[in-house]
């Protein structure tokens, strides 16, 4: 009948299992897929993320170079980050904090980036080096 008693006594002397949440927050793990961001400077507006997204939270206007995301429809799967050819998308390790109002993230980019990417792809000798250069800084924040 008193089989739970040792556990209860033990819980009185060991450290607390809970945190005082809003005041004390645990450090997120390094590989957590949190809030989605787009480094618009690097975006080539190819529309891959729009096609791959399972919840269809991303819209890409290729002509006007506008990248739009509904952060409340995002399911944090990270498929867009994996497939982004320019490595412009990345996820932070923190989750989005709750808000009282609905927002849509809309970012306006420059069309010249697309031309640059095309130029790089067109050059047969140099694209390898420049491609890696682009991939490295993009990979850091995503992991």
């Amino acid at each position: 009948m008193f089989r739970m008693t040792p556990n209860i006594v033990r819980n009185l002397v060991v450290r607390k299992s809970t945190r005082m949440y809003p005041v004390e927050v645990r450090e997120p793990f390094a590989q957590v897929r949190g809030e989605l961001f787009n480094d618009i400077e690097r975006c080539i507006f190819c529309g891959t993320c729009e096609v791959k997204c399972p919840s269809q939270c991303i819209q890409v206007d290729k002509k006007a170079c506008i990248w739009t995301c509904d952060p409340f429809a995002c399911v944090f799967c990270g498929v867009c980050v994996d497939t982004c050819p320019a490595k412009s998308l990345y996820q932070k390790t923190k989750y989005r904090s709750p808000t009282g109002e609905r927002i849509i993230i809309s970012q306006q980019g420059q069309p010249r980036k697309k031309d640059k990417a095309k130029d790089r792809a067109g050059e047969s000798g140099t694209p390898k080096g420049s491609g890696e250069e682009k991939a490295d800084p993009g990979g850091d924040p995503a992991t």
């Binding site: 009948m1 089989r3 739970m4 957590v32 897929r33 791959k52 399972p54 919840s55 399911v75 990270g78």
Partner: protein, 360 residues
């Protein structure tokens, strides 16, 4: 005595899921139970017409939050079978690791809720405290706590490094030590036994004939587990199902508790045999799935069955899911009659109902 019909659910303080039973009661005893399904139907199978077969992974993961890895695993295995994709050995072992982690967290959630169903609040808290460590392992290795989105067609998306694997082993040791401390209470305590022993008895014959699956079937003494088929890497891990023979709520409770410890053992074995190499086969250039297949895996609640049919298009023709709770409802209706109304929550929870799975 006059008969009374009492609706049990869909909203009930003790139920984690919106199961709806119409109970015909004579005095305080149940005479008949009639289930009413469809309360949380979302039409996820129909989404296969709209989403392409890669995006369906994220959809099937949301059929059930508690066993998302296993749903995605079953779906991916089916598609891989149709497309003829070979999964790298490391990915197969990692799939076992994540599946078993999900089984542990699901069983711990259930053990807590079960303790709560007969009013043992402090035991409920203890199980959920242990479960939190498993959620941390999921978050650190896959990137998310519950819907981990780690399976893809051709393998897995994450490759834990040796340091992370060592950390997982250390965390699992902690979980095992904590569980052993709770074992005495969950399996031997007077109050637990008083509420569970001899309640909701399902004989071996009934369990087999009514098509029970998972811990309900194994609690009645039938040693059947879909993991015996050896999918992913289970065939190489010398898996043996956990069986109890009494067929009552206590036996089902014991099966789940022992399975949790068995899963910890399976994770250790999978990690010790974890081969090096790739975790994902590239499927670029292979045509979309054309053909049909039936695939079954073992969920925490029992056997899960997927029927997939594709005709070479980006979208699949048909995705049919049969979830374990659907198979476990007929046995529940046999268990309930004859019991007091106050035993209904305990007996209902003993099949571990997952209604969002069942109604999809």
């Amino acid at each position: 005595m006059r008969k009374t019909v009492i609706p049990f659910g869909p909203q009930h303080p003790v139920l984690p899921e919106p199961i709806h039973l119409k109970l015909t009661v004579e005095d305080e005893r149940i005479i008949e139970a009639i289930p009413n399904l469809g309360y949380v139907h979302r039409g996820l199978e129909r989404l296969a017409d709209i989403r392409d077969f890669h995006q369906m992974i994220q959809v099937v993961e949301r059929v059930c939050g508690i066993c998302s890895v296993i749903h995605a695993l079953c779906y991916c295995q089916g598609i891989e079978e149709i497309m003829g994709v070979e999964v790298p050995p490391r990915a197969r072992y990692l799939r076992v690791m994540w599946s078993e982690l999900h089984r542990i967290q699901s069983h711990l959630l259930w053990l807590g809720l079960f303790a709560d169903s007969f009013g043992f609040e402090s035991l409920f808290m203890q199980f959920w405290r242990v479960r939190e460590k498993i959620m941390d392992i999921s978050e650190a290795t896959t990137g998310n706590r519950v819907i981990v989105s780690v399976n893809v067609i051709g393998g897995v998306r994450r490759n834990p490094d040796p340091e992370q694997i060592r950390w997982v082993l250390a965390q699992i040791d902690w979980v095992e030590a904590e569980l052993q401390r709770l074992e005495d209470t969950m399996l031997e305590d007077y109050t637990v036994k008083k509420r569970t022993v001899g309640k909701g008895v399902l004989t071996r014959q009934q369990a087999y004939e009514l098509g029970a699956v998972g811990p309900v079937l194994r609690g009645s003494g039938v040693a059947q587990d879909a993991r015996q088929t050896g999918y992913a890497a289970y065939g190489e891990l010398h898996f043996e199902p956990v069986v109890e023979t009494d067929g009552d709520c206590y036996a089902r409770n014991k099966v789940r508790f022992r399975e949790t410890l068995a899963s910890i053992d399976l994770i250790r074995r999978a990690i010790h045999r974890l081969p090096d190499g790739e975790v994902r086969t590239k499927i670029k250039g292979i045509k979309p799935p054309q053909g049909e297949t039936v695939n079954r895996v073992e969920q925490p609640r029992g056997e899960l069955l997927y029927y997939l049919k594709g005709s070479g298009q980006k979208t699949l023709d048909r995705v049919r899911i049969r979830t374990p709770t659907f198979a476990n409802i007929p046995p529940l209706l046999v268990m309930l009659p004859g019991h007091f109304l106050s035993d209904v929550p305990v007996v209902t929870l003993s099949i571990d109902p997952c209604i969002s799975c069942t109604e999809r």
